[in-house]
C-alpha cells in the first residue's frame, strides 16, 4: 500500500475518551445470513474507500444459507493497515440471536447501533447506544415485500452515515458501483439511506467520538476480492480450459471465470469462445479433465479447497510423474476434514507440497495480496507449462472472499510462456524426439501436442515407469535416472518460481518468516514492535520449493519466528527440511482459529517469546 497517511493510529484502549477519532476504527455489522446485508456492508465499505479512507472488509459467515448470525467487519485505517483487529469500535446489530454477545464485545467507548425491536438489558456506561427502527422504516419505504428485510440493512447505512459524517454522495457512488450503474435500485436504496440519515439527525445525539473525513489514502487504488483477482489473472494468463467443482471458499473463483471469460475472451473474428469451462461431477473428475486438457495443450486450471485437494491426490501425482501442466488453486479453509468451510486457514501447505503418493513434491505459489492473486494467476499458468508439472496456488478464504484494496493490477510483463513444445517443423528438422530427455540441463524434456501433423509426433503417456523415449520400463536404472531428472526439475523450479521478498533490517537479531495472507498483520506488528524498539527483519515466501536465499536470511539472525495460520506449523516444517542447519533457531509462531491474524496477536506472540 503506497498511500499511507503519516499520522499515528488512534485506538481507544485505555478507556479515555478522545474528542474525535478520525478514520481509525472498526465497524462490525451483525446480521442474519441471507438477509441481504451484503449490499449495505459493501456500500459502507466502498463509500469509505471512495472518500479516500483506507479500508478492508471481512465477512465472517456461517456455513449455512439463511438465518444464522453473520458478521461483516470494516476496518478504516488512516495509516492504511488492513489486518483484522479484535476490537470493534462500532457495532451494528439487527440480529437478536447474537445481540447479547455483540453488545458485550463493543470496545470501550464504542458505539452500539441496534434494531429497536431487540429487547435486552443494555447497562454499559462506556458505550454509546443508538436504537434504530430498521424494520419500521424498511416497511415504510419498501413496497416490494421481498425487499423489506433487505431494506432494513440500508437503514443502518443511513444511521451510520449520520454518526460518522459519511458523505451521502460517496454512498450514492458506492451504490452506483454496486448496481453497475443501474439507476433504479440506486435510487430506491438511497431513499432509505436518506430517510434513515434524516431520522437519525432528528432522534440521535451524536456525542460518540468516531468520525470520517475525506483523505487521499486510496487514490488510484482498486478494491476487490482475491478470487476475482485470481480469475482475472488466469484470464490474462490465457487460461483456456477450466474444470471445477463447487466448494466454499473456492467457488467464487470459478464464478468470476464464468463471468469474465465471456466478456474478455470471445474471439474477435468468430465471436466464439476461446475457452471452455466445465462443472465436473467431482474433484477427481475436475482435475482429471484439467490434466487431460493440459496434456493436450490447453492452459488449464481448477479451483478447490481442502476436501477437493484430498480427492485430487492421485491425479496430482499422475501429472507430476507424467509431467503434465495443470494449475490448481487451493483457496484454503479450515481442516482437517470438512472442518470449518467458512473460516480461513493456511493448513494445506504440507498437503499441497507433497500431494501424490510415493515421492512427489509440487510447486506452490503463495499470494499474500489480491495483487499477487492476479499476478500468480498468470504466472502459475506460465510455470505449469514451462515446468510441465502441476502448480498450486495456495490462497485462502480471507484473501479469496474478502474485499481488499490494491494498486491496479499490472499487465503481465512477459509474453505467455508455453514451455517446451515441438511443432511438426521442429520434428522435420530434428527427425524425432525423446519426450523425457533432459536436453537443456534443466530437467525439463520437450513435448509434442496431440494434433501435431507429423508421423513422429506421437508418444505414449503413462503414470507407470518410463524411459527417456516414453517407453514402458521396469528397470532400476531407468527409474532412478528419471527420478533424478525430476529432482533436477524441482531445482529449476526453485530458481524460476517467484523469489522471497526480503526486508533485512540492519542490526536485527530477530526475524519473521511468513507467507500469504498473514502479511498485513505482520507488517502492522512490525511497525508496532519497531515503536517498542524491536528491530525485526522479515522474509515473505512467495513460492515452494523454498528459495535458497532463505538459508542466508536465517543465518543472519539469531531467532526466526515462522508466523503462519495452521495447527502443525507446516511452513516451519518445510523450512526445517530445507535448512537442517537452522536447528532450533526457527521458532513456531502459529495460530489456527479460523480468523485472520491480528497485528496484536503477532506482536504479543513474538514479545512473549522474546521476554
Amino acid at each position: 500500500m503506497s498511500a499511507v497517511i503519516e499520522k499515528p493510529g488512534v485506538e481507544a484502549s485505555n478507556g479515555a475518551l478522545r474528542s474525535t477519532i478520525v478514520n481509525d476504527f472498526s465497524i462490525v455489522a451483525a446480521t442474519k445470513n441471507g438477509s441481504g446485508s451484503q449490499t449495505a456492508n459493501s456500500t459502507i465499505l466502498r463509500a469509505l474507500f471512495k472518500m479516500g479512507i483506507p479500508v478492508v472488509g471481512k465477512n465472517v459467515f456461517p456455513s449455512n444459507i439463511q438465518g444464522r448470525p453473520t458478521w461483516y467487519t470494516i476496518r478504516a485505517s488512516s495509516e492504511g493497515y488492513t489486518a483484522r483487529r479484535d476490537a470493534n469500535e462500532i457495532t451494528i446489530t439487527l440480529n437478536p440471536e447474537s445481540a447479547i454477545d455483540d453488545y458485550a464485545k463493543v470496545a470501550p467507548n464504542g458505539v452500539f447501533i441496534y434494531a429497536d425491536d431487540i429487547k435486552m438489558p443494555m447497562q454499559r456506561t462506556d458505550v454509546f447506544h443508538y436504537p434504530i427502527p430498521a424494520k419500521k422504516m424498511a416497511n415504510q419505504y419498501e413496497t416490494d415485500a421481498k425487499l423489506k428485510t433487505y431494506g432494513a440493512n440500508m437503514v443502518y447505512v443511513g444511521g451510520l452515515a449520520y454518526l460518522l459524517g459519511l458523505d451521502l454522495k460517496a454512498i450514492e457512488d458506492a451504490l452506483t458501483f454496486h448496481f453497475k450503474g443501474k439507476q433504479k435500485p440506486v435510487e430506491s436504496n438511497m431513499k432509505l439511506v436518506r430517510a434513515a440519515f434524516d431520522w437519525a439527525g432528528q432522534n440521535w445525539k451524536n456525542d460518540q467520538p468516531y468520525r470520517v473525513e475525506k483523505m487521499n489514502g486510496t487514490e488510484g487504488l482498486i478494491m476487490l476480492d482475491g478470487n476475482t483477482a485470481g480469475a482475472l489473472g488466469s484470464i490474462y494468463g490465457g487460461v483456456n480450459f477450466v474444470a471445477w467443482y463447487p466448494i466454499t471458499p473456492a467457488t467464487s473463483l470459478a464464478d468470476a471465470l464464468d463471468e469474465y471469460l465471456p466478456r474478455l475472451r470471445m474471439d474477435k473474428e468468430t465471436g466464439k469462445p476461446t475457452f471452455a469451462v466445465i462443472q465436473a461431477e467431482d474433484e477427481l473428475a475436475a482435475l482429471g479433465m484439467v490434466v487431460g486438457a493440459g496434456w493436450a495443450g490447453a492452459r488449464s486450471m481448477t479451483s478447490t479447497s481442502g476436501p477437493g485437494i484430498s480427492l485430487m491426490s492421485e491425479f496430482t501425482g499422475y501429472a507430476y510423474f507424467a509431467e503434465i501442466p495443470a494449475v490448481i488453486w487451493d483457496v484454503t479453509r479450515m481442516g482437517p476434514s470438512t472442518g470449518l468451510p467458512t473460516r480461513t486457514s493456511q493448513g494445506d501447505v504440507l498437503k499441497a507440497y507433497f500431494l501424490g503418493h510415493g515421492d512427489t513434491k509440487n510447486v506452490c505459489l503463495l499470494p499474500s495480496s489480491i495483487y499477487e492473486c492476479f499476478e500468480f494467476g498468470w504466472r502459475a499458468l506460465d510455470l505449469a507449462e514451462r515446468l510441465q508439472t502441476p502448480v498450486f496456488v495456495l490462497s485462502d478464504l480471507d484473501l479469496g472472499m474478502n474485499q481488499w484494496m490494491s494498486k491496479p493490477f499490472d499487465y503481465p510483463a512477459t509474453d505467455l510462456d508455453r514451455g517446451k513444445v515441438l511443432s511438426a517443423d521442429d520434428l522435420n528438422r530434428l527427425k524425432g524426439f525423446a519426450r523425457y530427455r533432459d536436453v537443456d540441463g534443466d530437467g525439463i524434456g520437450w513435448r509434442t501436442l496431440p494434433g501435431t501433423d507429423h508421423p513422429l509426433a506421437a508418444y505414449f503417456t503413462r503414470g507407470s515407469g518410463h524411459n527417456e523415449v516414453a517407453g514402458l520400463t521396469e528397470k532400476s536404472e531407468d527409474w532412478v535416472k528419471n527420478m533424478a531428472r525430476l529432482g533436477k526439475k524441482h531445482e529449476t523450479a526453485r530458481t524460476i518460481a517467484p523469489q522471497p521478498v526480503i526486508d533485512q533490517v540492519d542490526g536485527a537479531e530477530i526475524a519473521i518468516i511468513s507467507f500469504g495472507s498473514t502479511d498485513p498483520a505482520i507488517s502492522e506488528a512490525r511497525a508496532r514492535l519497531a515503536k517498542e524498539g524491536y528491530k525485526i527483519s522479515y522474509l515473505r515466501i512467495k513460492a515452494l520449493p523454498l528459495a535458497n536465499s532463505i538459508i542466508d536470511f536465517v543465518a543472519a539472525h539469531k531467532r526466526v519466528y515462522v508466523v503462519e495460520m495452521n495447527t502443525d506449523a507446516q511452513m516451519l516444517s518445510l523450512l526445517r527440511l530445507h535448512n537442517p542447519a537452522a536447528g532450533t533457531k526457527l521458532v513456531a509462531c502459529n495460530l489456527n482459529d479460523g480468523m485472520p491474524l491480528t497485528a496484536k496477536w503477532v506482536s504479543e506472540a513474538i514479545l512473549s517469546k522474546e521476554k
Partner: protein, 376 residues
C-alpha cells in the same frame, strides 16, 4: 532459462529409437520411396496402424479387439495423427500401446480415463478419441465418471473390453461378473452384473452396441459406425480373459460366446464419401440411420431383428437379456441427434483450443486498464 516457444538448438541430434515409433515411418521429405503395400484413402499401409508387440496373454480377447481397431481405422482411411488413444488401468487399458503407434496415447488412472479424455478432446475437438477400458475400470471404480461422460456426450469411441473379471490383478470379480460365479479366494459372487448397455442408454448415450471379441467382422463394422457418431459411442465388447475367466460356464468365455452369440441385427456401414446405390437397398427391408457426418448405417430388417432406434425396446432388450443370460450382440441403440460436448460449449466450429494463438488468449492492456478503472 529460455521462455521462448521454439527450440533454439537441436533438441535431439540423431534419430532416436523411440519404442513408440511407427513401424513404417516414412522419412521426412516428399521424395521418399513408398513400400509396395496396399494403401488406403490416406495413402497409408496397414503397418502404419501397428502398435508395439502385445504383452497380454496368448489368446486374450483384448488382442483381437486391438486387431479390429487397426483394421477398421485402416479401412476407413483415418489418419492416425488425428486419433488420440485413451485408457485407464488394467490389461485392457494396456492395449492402446498395441495399436496405432502413430496416434497419441495416454494411459491414465484406474477408472478415471473419462475425465482425462473429456479434457483432452475439449482441448482439441478435431481429434477422434478411441478409448479402451475394462469392466473393472469402467464398471467398478470408474462407474461415476463413465456415466457422467456419457451424459456430456464427449465425442469418442468408448470400448469396454468386458471379460467379467479383473485381469491385471489376477482374477477378482468385477461388477460384470456372473451372478453365482465362484472364485478361489472370495467364494461366490452374489451380485447381479451391471449391464453396460442398459446403463449407457439410461445416461443418454446415442450409440450403444455390444459385440464379441470372437466376432471380428461385427466388431469391425461397429467400430466403423461408431467412428461416425457425433458423441460418445459405447461398445461393450465381450472379450474373454483366457487366464482367469474362460471356463465354459462363464458368460464371458469364448465357448459361451461361440455357443450363445445371438445377433440382434445385421447392418452395414457406408462412409460419408460413398454413395448408396438405392437399387441395392429395397425399401421395407432396410432401415437407414443417417449419422451426423453423412455416413449411413444400413440395417437389414427381418422378423425378429431389433430396431436400434427404439429406445424402450433397446432398454427392454438389455434387461431381458441380462435376466435370462442371453448373449445378445449388435447395434442396440442409436440416436445421432444429441449435440456433443464441444458443440454445447460452442467451440466446435473454431480452432482447437490448443491451437488458438497466444495473442487471442491474452486480452489487451487496454481491456485491463478499463477493468481496473471500474474497480476503483
Amino acid at each position: 532459462m529460455t521462455t521462448e516457444n521454439k527450440p533454439t538448438a537441436p533438441i535431439v541430434k540423431e534419430h532416436i529409437a523411440n519404442i513408440n515409433m511407427p513401424a513404417t515411418v516414412k522419412p521426412a521429405g516428399p521424395a521418399a520411396a513408398k513400400p509396395v503395400v496396399a494403401l488406403n484413402l490416406s495413402g497409408l499401409a496397414k503397418t502404419d496402424y501397428k502398435g508395439n508387440e502385445s504383452t497380454l496373454c496368448n489368446g486374450c480377447g483384448h488382442d483381437s479387439i486391438s486387431a479390429q481397431i487397426i483394421n477398421s481405422m485402416y479401412e476407413l482411411g483415418v489418419k492416425p495423427e488425428t486419433v488420440i488413444k485413451f485408457s485407464g488401468i488394467g490389461c485392457s487399458s494396456k492395449s492402446p500401446a498395441y495399436f496405432m503407434n502413430r496416434s497419441f496415447g495416454i494411459n491414465t488412472l484406474h477408472g478415471r480415463m473419462p475425465a482425462v479424455a473429456t479434457g483432452a478432446l475439449m482441448t482439441n475437438h478435431t481429434m477422434h478419441g478411441i478409448a479402451v477400458s475394462g469392466d473393472g475400470d469402467t464398471g467398478s471404480i470408474g462407474f461415476g465418471q463413465f456415466k457422467h461422460m456419457l451424459r456430456r456426450n464427449v465425442r469418442m469411441i468408448y470400448i469396454i473390453e468386458n471379460n467379467g473379471v479383473y485381469g491385471l490383478t489376477k482374477g477378482q470379480f468385477s461388477a460384470t461378473s456372473d451372478q453365482g460365479a465362484m472364485l478361489r479366494h472370495a467364494g461366490r459372487n452374489d451380485f447381479m452384473p451391471i449391464d453396460m448397455c442398459l446403463e449407457a442408454i439410461a445416461s443418454g448415450c446415442g450409440f450403444v452396441a455390444r459385440s464379441f471379441a470372437g466376432d471380428p467382422k461385427q466388431c469391425m463394422a461397429l467400430l466403423k459406425a461408431a467412428y461416425a457418431h457425433r458423441g460418445t459411442s459405447m461398445l461393450d465388447i465381450i472379450s474373454p480373459c483366457v487366464t482367469f475367466n474362460n471356463k465354459e460356464d462363464s458368460t464371458k468365455s469364448y465357448d459361451w460366446g461361440r455357443k450363445h452369440d445371438e445377433r440382434i441385427n445385421d447392418f452395414g456401414y457406408v462412409p460419408p464419401h460413398e454413395e448408396i446405390m438405392i437399387a441395392d437397398y429395397k425399401d421395407g427391408e432396410e432401415q437407414v440411420v443417417e449419422m451426423h457426418d453423412g455416413s449411413k448405417v444400413i440395417l437389414k430388417k427381418t422378423a425378429d431383428s431389433h430396431d436400434p432406434t427404439d429406445k424402450f425396446a433397446a432398454m427392454k432388450l438389455c434387461m431381458e437379456a441380462r435376466d435370462s443370460k442371453r448373449f445378445i450382440t449388435g447395434l442396440i441403440y442409436v440416436d445421432p441427434s444429441a449435440q456433443s460436448l464441444a458443440e454445447v460449449e460452442d467451440i466446435s466450429s473454431g480452432l482447437p483450443l490448443s491451437q488458438i494463438p497466444n495473442a487471442k488468449l491474452r486480452p489487451s492492456p487496454d481491456s485491463l486498464a478499463k477493468l481496473m478503472a471500474g474497480m476503483k
